[in-house]
Symmetry: C2
Subunit: 291 residues, 2 copies
């Protein structure tokens, strides 16, 4: 069993980006600049945005955090986006989700200039991805592809089963694994809450990508020997014995499934750390395209 080590791989990627930023500086070029828009004071959102800002510092990017009150109107938020679209000093920006009820998230995402949409959530970028054109791939799927690529996990002709059809993980992964090239060329089955015979399907899988958020969902009797497991589930389980009061777990019964797996991502330390690294990578791409 080989551990797909997201912590190590994401650090490698951050090191590579740091070197590229240093080269830009050496040439006297402006370094990449990521902006993040945070609406309200949600604890988890603050943590996520905080880690993104910190990651920018780590690799030498400029970063700007724009905090708006939870009472902000849709028009005010759209104005902020318009300014970011026009600001030539900013290469890419993200709108931290979720947004408060008075705001139409879809309208907000549509307002982001696709060229600066480093989250890859804009329909134009999503469509390009589905049509095999070059574009920003959403950070979590991009992180999974990168893990498969760097660990040289064979995907061609394999049966990949994706569990969950969310817009940010399941749907894009099902598209990406079936595209031409590597990683890709898989036969892909997308499963979800209406799927019958889940166990039969996962037992046939060479690669399983699960993004349900149900701790312990994938058990050892649901997989075959040698399976590749990508666990995207992240659930906080309350645990008073820990200083933080909780622990993080994925969708996979890691203890037992890992005994059968060929490759497996741990949780934490698997897909999670990759996500921010790929956001940085997309920002670097945006900077290069803006040159």
């Amino acid at each position: 069993m080989i551990l797909l080590d997201g912590r190590k791989t994401s650090n490698d990627i951050k090191d590579e980006i740091t070197r590229e930023v240093q080269e830009m500086k050496d040439k006297g070029e402006r370094v990449p600049h990521l902006a993040a828009v945070l609406v309200g004071n949600d604890g988890a959102s603050l943590t996520y945005v905080g880690s993104k800002v910190k990651a920018c510092e780590r690799v030498g990017f400029e970063s700007t955090l724009i905090q708006l009150p939870h009472t902000v109107s849709e028009v005010e938020l759209l104005d902020t986006i318009d300014e970011l679209n026009k600001n030539e000093e900013i290469d890419g920006f993200i709108i931290q989700l979720p947004l408060p009820k008075q705001i139409n998230s879809q309208k907000v995402l549509m307002a982001v200039d696709p060229k600066k949409d480093v989250d890859g959530f804009h329909p134009t970028n999503f469509g390009k991805m589905a049509l095999d054109m070059s574009t920003f791939i959403p950070a979590t799927p991009f992180g999974i592809l990168t893990l498969l690529e760097r660990y040289k996990v064979e995907t061609q002709g394999k049966h990949t089963v994706v569990i969950g059809r969310s817009h940010i993980v399941g749907r894009p992964m099902s598209i990406l694994m079936g595209r031409k090239g590597f990683p890709g060329n898989s036969t892909v089955t997308l499963t979800h809450s209406y799927t019958k015979n889940m166990k039969e399907i996962t037992r046939d899988a060479d690669i399983i990508i699960t993004a349900l958020g149900v701790p312990g969902f994938l058990k050892a009797d649901m997989v075959k020997d040698g399976v590749v497991i990508i666990d995207v589930g992240i659930t906080r389980v309350p645990d008073e014995s820990r200083a933080r009061g909780y622990y993080i777990t994925g969708d996979v019964d890691f203890e037992n499934v890992s005994k059968k797996a060929g490759y497996i991502t741990p949780v934490p330390g698997g897909v999670g750390p990759m996500t921010i690294a790929m956001l940085l990578k997309n920002t670097l791409l945006a900077r290069e395209q803006a040159k």
Copy 2:
């Protein structure tokens, strides 16, 4: 076995559109207007565009055919598209494919205003479709969904197997069948040239959508009893005994597969006739959105 009759269904849809156009006329409104751009003199392309123009007449739409020589430059074609984008009298337009070598098809499709992209090929529209937003669905997939809908074929929780991952049929069908709602909520497997154990996969399918263009590919021993078959393959087979010198056939060994199928589309007369009806439907939607 129930025949999914595309000829009848497409005529029903054309009748419905004709009535809507008549209502527009009665109200003194401008009727929908579809333009088609044809580059060169390819026989098949001329036939396709001709049928589209004829279909417009049938339902009372305005239509404009713009013919450009096969030597047209990319810039000239992009200028034509720009004019069509700006022309407020035209609700939607299509660029008949394939285009000659000197022209970058991707660049051309990107130049079409997504609001007038009634073929649904622009990445913005493709991305909206993949993200469950309302948009123009490409005509052939839209036709298949409409057949399933009108014949009330159950799709929820069923295993749908799509054969072929083209941008115009396989890829979009794999997305659409797995979306929320009806038709949709299927467990979807997308297969292609790298797929192993094809027979094993198709034998497990409740619904098979095949778009390979290989006559007789899907045989009776590859399907289970009661399967729903959507045959999108269209191949011209040379046959001197026929006046036209050829006959049209699909991917399915119809004679034998139809004995096991619950529902099946004939070829010709199945998905084919639906395509033009759905192009008209998209043009009607474009007209309504432009109001």
